[in-house]
Each structure stands twice: as structure tokens, then as C-alpha cells.
């Protein structure tokens, strides 16, 4: 008896950026392709900056997205304004594509809830990033249920890592999505590592995509380092979902080139040779080689892009550092829609605490 289920696997570009299959019709749209490239580069430069900010104590723990830029950028460029993103904590790329501002992402990791109060209307219904593992899969199904009840032509994308696919929440989400044919696309970012636990001992299933089969819907694998492949499959899946044809699970195979978070040291559990080999597969170099070979990209454009991205990132860092802290009442303002009168004395308790500390500082 075999546990192997044959599932599609999509790749257009090999690690050297050479075409390995026929591109879809949009494949000669070099405006689109260079835009995807620009977004990936911006994400990577922002990500590097965020790690540097953590190292110098200007933000708290951060989860780097290094190596996974293709997945988020492809999803983000395909989501429509009225679709909903229900992300996990390694989704900087797709959040930036949804109009979440870099300074908002820095505010969040810098310990300020304003970072999840996205100002761009495109992301107004998007969930904040989810730190508990896989719980967001169910929230996405709830959003999709609301969409289905209201008969709307919208879709939900929810993301998670390979570790999340072991959780009951993920499997319960697949189950209900299949049972009710919900307009939701599950994107599993299989980056091979759940902190220190490798994919091979995470699950006995040969693929993570086949978990959809047990729930009664379609799953397939995609080269998560090939932005064109991810774009193609997400476009197909979103289109199906918006037209009421039910859920899809895409397992995007990539590699977490960085640490799990800035609080982690992956050299403790990961072989240097493996990481070195993974760098040969990474998504930015691959698309750059393809674009250069097609004469849609060159060194001059590359330099201009990097300078432009660095300006954007620095402006965001400046905005973040000048954002100031919120008034102390802000910690009470959103626990309930209105602070309950029955908890009134706790508000007083907090304000007295603040007054005491200010008075204390006055005596210094």
C-alpha cells in the first residue's frame, strides 16, 4: 500500500533562471515581471533593515522573511482590494503588497499595536499577523463563510508554514473548507523548518499538499522560489475561489534562509552546507537571471532600484522612529468597544499608576 498521491508540481524557471516549461500568456508581460522583481527586492532590503534594527535594539523580536519573497509578492499582486488576507508572522512581502506600510510593520515588531491598525483601505479587512500557530487558518474559513453567506465574489488567502500543517486548527480548517466549499486559498509556505524541526520529521505525508485530498479538495505543489510559478497557481486558485468553485491548497516549496526569528540561532541545528545549497535556489537571483537574459533588466536598473528601495526603507524607518508612543489611555481604549463602567476603578488605578511614575521622575 502506498501513501503517495500524485499531485501537480509547477515550475517555470530553474535555479539559473532558465525556462523549463512554456510560460502562460502573461509570461511575456515584462512590466508585470519586473514589477514582481522590484517588489521582491524591496521586501528583501526592508527585511535586512528590520533585522538590523532588532540587532541594535530599536525593534523587538522579528521574524525574517528572507528567501520567501516570491510567495508573498505573488499572492499580494493577485489579491484584489476586496479580497481578504489572513496571514501568519512571516508575511512581510504580502503585507507590503497589500499596502501595509513599512512603518506599520516596524511599529508592530517594535511593540506598538498601531502597527496592526492598517491605514491603507486595501488592507482594512485583513487580519493582523497571527503568532499562535495555524489558528489563522480557521479565521480565514470564518471570513470565507461570511463571504459565502452573503453571496459575494471575493476570496480569502491564508498562509502558514510547514509546521502549522501539523496542528488541529489547520486540519479542521481544511475539513470545513472542503465540506462547505469555501472561497479560501490555503498557501503553505513549506520552508523546510519549524524552528529546529525539519520537514521530514514534521509529517509522515510525502507532500503537505495532499492533506487537501483528505478534506475533499484540490492540493498541489509549487516551486516557491519561482515567482512565476507561484503567480500562475495563485491566480488560478483565486479565480476558482471567487467563482464559487471552492478551496485550493498550494504547497509552495521554499527555504527559510534566515533564522526562525531574531531570537533564534539556526546554526545550532542546521547544516551550513544545506543552507549554502539553498542559497543557490533563492527566488530573487533566479528572476533576475531570467529578466537579464530577456534584456528586460540590467545593472543600471538594478543600481537605480536598490537606491530607490533604500530611500523608501530609510524614510519608513524615520517615520517609525518619529511615531512617538501612544497616550497611556490607549491600552484601555480597545479592550472593549467602550470601557465598561463596571471596570471603572481599574482605569483610575492605571491613571494613578501613571501619575505616580511621572511624579517619581519629577524627583529624579
Amino acid at each position: 500500500m502506498s501513501n503517495r498521491i500524485e499531485l501537480p508540481y509547477t515550475r517555470f524557471l530553474d535555479p539559473e533562471g532558465r525556462l523549463v516549461g512554456e510560460l502562460p500568456a502573461w509570461g511575456d508581460d515584462f512590466n508585470l515581471l519586473t514589477d514582481l522583481y522590484r517588489r521582491m527586492v524591496l521586501t528583501r532590503l526592508f527585511d535586512q533593515k528590520a533585522v538590523a534594527l532588532q540587532r541594535t535594539g530599536r525593534i523587538g523580536t522579528y521574524a525574517p522573511t528572507l528567501g520567501q519573497e516570491a510567495i508573498g509578492v505573488a499572492i499580494g499582486s493577485l489579491l484584489r482590494d476586496d479580497d481578504v488576507l489572513v496571514p501568519y508572522y512571516r508575511d512581510t512581502a504580502v503585507q507590503l503588497m497589500r499596502g501595509v506600510r513599512m512603518e506599520e510593520i516596524l511599529l508592530y515588531w517594535g511593540g506598538d499595536e498601531r502597527g496592526s491598525d492598517f491605514q491603507d483601505p486595501r488592507s482594512k479587512e485583513d487580519f493582523p499577523i497571527c503568532v499562535p500557530i495555524a489558528t489563522q487558518s480557521l479565521h480565514a474559513c470564518g471570513v470565507a463563510t461570511a463571504i459565502k453567506i452573503r453571496g459575494q465574489h471575493r476570496a480569502v488567502v491564508t498562509t502558514c508554514g510547514d509546521g502549522a500543517t501539523s496542528k488541529g486548527d489547520f486540519l479542521e480548517a481544511l475539513n470545513v473548507a472542503g465540506a462547505w466549499q469555501l472561497p479560501v486559498v490555503f498557501v503553505v509556505n513549506n520552508n523546510q523548518w519549524a524552528i529546529s524541526v525539519p520537514r521530514r520529521i514534521q509529517s509522515g505525508a510525502p507532500t503537505l499538499a495532499q492533506k487537501a485530498i483528505g478534506a475533499g479538495f484540490h492540493g498541489e505543489q509549487v516551486d516557491g522560489n519561482d515567482v512565476l510559478a507561484v503567480y500562475d497557481r495563485v491566480q488560478w486558485a483565486l479565480d476558482r475561489a471567487r467563482h464559487g468553485k471552492g478551496p485550493v491548497l498550494l504547497e509552495c516549496i521554499s527555504y527559510r534562509l534566515g533564522d526562525h526569528t531574531t531570537a533564534d540561532d539556526a546554526t545550532r541545528y542546521r547544516d551550513a552546507d544545506e543552507v549554502k545549497a539553498a542559497w543557490q535556489e533563492e527566488p530573487i537571483k533566479r528572476l533576475q537571471a531570467f529578466l537579464a537574459a530577456s534584456e528586460a533588466w540590467d545593472e543600471g536598473r538594478e543600481q537605480a532600484l536598490i537606491a530607490d528601495c533604500q530611500r523608501q526603507v530609510q524614510a519608513a524607518v524615520d517615520n517609525f522612529e518619529n511615531a512617538g508612543t501612544q497616550p497611556v489611555e490607549a491600552v484601555l481604549d480597545h479592550v472593549y468597544a467602550r470601557w465598561p463602567a463596571a471596570l471603572g476603578d481599574q482605569r483610575e488605578m492605571l491613571m494613578e499608576r501613571v501619575a505616580r511614575r511621572e511624579e517619581g521622575r519629577g524627583h529624579e
Binding site: 481578504v84 489572513v86 499595536e113 498601531r114 496592526s116 491598525d117 492598517f118 482594512k124 479587512e125 487580519f127 493582523p128 499562535p132 489558528t135 487558518s137 480557521l138 479565521h139 480565514a140 474559513c141 470564518g142 471570513v143 470565507a144 463563510t145 461570511a146 463571504i147 453567506i149 488541529g168 486548527d169 479542521e172 480548517a173 475539513n175 470545513v176 465540506a179 490607549a330 481604549d333 480597545h334 479592550v335 472593549y336 468597544a337 465598561p340 463602567a341 463596571a342 471596570l343
Partner: protein
């Protein structure tokens, strides 16, 4: 003048819940009921009876059997502006849903600075006394009361079930609405189905008195009222307060009563340690110590799982247990 109540059909707590659900769904198309067996079957207790026929399968949803999923789904639906009213069949099955209640439902408003919110109600039967199997008889209201961002409401009569459930569904934040199974079919009373809400975060004084304050909620209100009547026969005037909203707790009403009577007994069916009774007692000591004539007494279940039904009456405080505590307080030197 004829009494309107004489002509009204009497309804028990379970029917009052059903009536309120009908009313809420009729008033607001965003109200959606979901849970296991809530549709065709009308719920295992029949609290959702008739809703599917009247409001259709899109609004009265039988879910797969998965409590984590029900709670997670409700978070997503509520964030989209629906008002999911979910049923967990018994409070003993709710633990699978806890992560979504604690980490998401209660926090999404705060995490997003109000951009998203979670206007949902989780309904669940609670408590012992109906000879149910294991894991059906718990009173774990204190678990929820500890969580910032949640409201916890427990009605003790059909009228309060009706009015409080409507308010819970209106509320823009998540409400845990616990229905004492022991009262589901007891003491029917006339209910006017006029959509009138009762306030949340507020205690209800059921009986005025001057000698002692008896504080309770949920099914235990029943035994507490019996004890108050027994006290009356002995010439003791007891004030009885139904807390109703366990969180946020209306301490002002409780404080005013205790200042007046100088004596207090708290009665609840949940285990004693770290129970809501402890919170109330501590707050009353902070607020009214010098008005107290005697130490506050708690009458509670012991810190044990509810026994199987042959001995479950041991677990539930009886009117005599309440009376004994009252005597201790009244006779305190």
C-alpha cells in the same frame, strides 16, 4: 384590571433562549447561528428549535464536529461584521475552543486598535443536576471571567435569559453566555416577547432585605432564594442579588447592599478555589471592610470534578448549606 401576565404563555429558560434567538435573527440579518446539531435537530436541548425553518440554512448552520473550528470560524465571521451566535453543546467540551477565545476573540479589537472586532456570542449549557454523563456538568465561568476583553453572562430566570441574550447579541464584543441546564425546564414564567433588553455588566436585586446579603448567579440562585425564604420564616430579612454578569462585575451594587446589611454569603456551584466568589469577597473587603459585621462566607462546590450523577447532589450547594453559612455569619460575635 386584568394582569397581562395572566394571559401570557409561561416559558422556561430554554424557551426564553429560543425566543430571544428568533427575535435577534428577525431584527438583524447579520445574526447567524452555528454549532453542532443546531439546524435540523434544533440543538441537543432544542434551544435553536425552529430557527432553521424560519431563517434558512445560510443563517442556521450545522457545523462539522469540531469545537476549535466553531470558535475560530466565529472569529472570522465576526470580523466580517456578522454576529455569530455559536453553540458549544456542553461547557465540558469548550476547552478545545479556548485558544480562540483567549488569544483571538477577546483580543482582536485591542490588537488592531479597533480596526477589527469580534461581536460574537458563545452559548453553552453549564452546571450539574440533570444526571448527565461525565464532562457535561462543569461550572467553569471563572476561566472566562479571568480573560480581558470577554463578557461572561449567566441568566438565572427565563426573563433574564431573554433580555440578557438579546443584549449579548447586540454587544460589539465577545460574550460567553452560559445557560444553567438545571434551570432549563424549571419555573416557567410569562415572557413578553417585545425585544426588551436587560443591561449587561449589572447585578439584579431579586429580593430586598436588611439583615444579610446573599450573592449568587446561575442555577445556585434557585437554592439561594429558597434559603432566603427559610430565613424569612425565622424572622431574618435577606437581600438576594443575582450577579448575572460575572465579567465585568457590578461591584457597586454588591457593595451598597453589603454596606446596608453588614453581612454577606456568596453562593456558587463552581469549585471554591480562585472562583468568582473569591473575587467578589476580596473586592468587598477592599471596599467595605468596616461595614462588615462578620467574615464573608462562601458556599461552593468542593475543588473536585463534578461526580457522576449518583452523588452529584453532594456537589451542588443546597438551601440547607446556604442556611448553615448564613447562621455562621448571623451569629458571629
Amino acid at each position: 384590571m386584568s394582569n397581562l401576565n395572566d394571559t401570557l404563555e409561561k416559558r422556561a429558560l430554554l424557551e426564553a433562549v429560543n425566543l430571544a434567538l428568533h427575535r435577534a435573527m428577525q431584527e438583524d440579518e447579520n445574526v447567524v447561528v452555528l454549532g453542532e446539531d443546531v439546524g435540523v435537530n434544533g440543538g441537543v436541548f432544542r434551544a435553536t428549535l425552529g430557527l432553521r425553518d424560519r431563517f434558512g440554512f445560510k443563517r442556521v448552520i450545522d457545523t462539522p464536529l469540531a469545537e476549535t473550528m466553531i470558535a475560530g470560524l466565529a472569529v472570522g465571521m465576526a470580523a466580517q461584521g456578522l454576529k455569530p451566535v455559536m453553540e458549544i453543546q456542553f461547557l465540558g467540551f469548550i476547552y478545545a475552543a479556548m485558544e480562540h477565545l483567549v488569544s483571538h476573540a477577546s483580543r482582536i479589537r485591542c490588537r488592531t486598535r479597533g480596526r477589527l472586532s469580534c461581536p460574537m456570542v458563545l452559548r453553552s449549557p453549564m452546571g450539574a443536576g440533570i444526571r448527565a454523563p461525565e464532562h457535561h456538568s462543569e461550572s467553569t465561568e471563572a476561566l472566562f471571567a479571568h480573560i480581558p476583553g470577554l463578557r461572561v453572562v449567566i441568566p438565572s430566570s427565563p426573563a433574564r435569559a431573554y433580555g440578557l441574550l438579546l443584549s449579548a447579541i447586540d454587544d460589539p464584543d465577545p460574550v460567553i453566555f452560559l445557560e444553567p441546564t438545571r434551570l432549563y425546564r424549571m419555573n416557567p414564567q410569562p415572557i413578553i416577547d417585545d425585544g426588551r433588553r436587560l443591561p449587561l455588566d449589572t447585578c439584579f436585586t431579586l429580593r430586598e432585605g436588611s439583615d444579610i446579603t446573599l450573592i449568587s448567579w446561575g442555577a445556585s440562585v434557585h437554592e439561594t432564594l429558597q434559603a432566603a425564604r427559610m430565613l424569612e420564616e425565622r424572622g431574618v430579612s435577606a437581600e438576594v442579588i443575582d450577579v448575572a454578569s460575572i465579567k465585568p462585575l457590578d461591584l457597586d451594587t454588591l457593595e451598597a447592599s453589603v454596606r446596608k446589611t453588614g453581612r454577606c454569603v456568596i453562593v456558587h456551584e463552581a469549585p471554591r478555589s480562585c472562583g468568582v466568589g473569591a473575587e467578589i469577597a476580596a473586592s468587598l473587603y477592599e471596599r467595605a471592610l468596616l461595614d462588615l459585621q462578620a467574615p464573608i462566607q462562601r458556599v461552593t462546590a468542593p475543588d473536585i470534578p463534578p461526580p457522576l450523577y449518583r452523588l452529584e447532589q453532594l456537589y451542588i450547594p443546597s438551601p440547607e448549606d446556604v442556611l448553615a453559612a448564613c447562621e455562621l455569619v448571623l451569629n458571629y460575635a
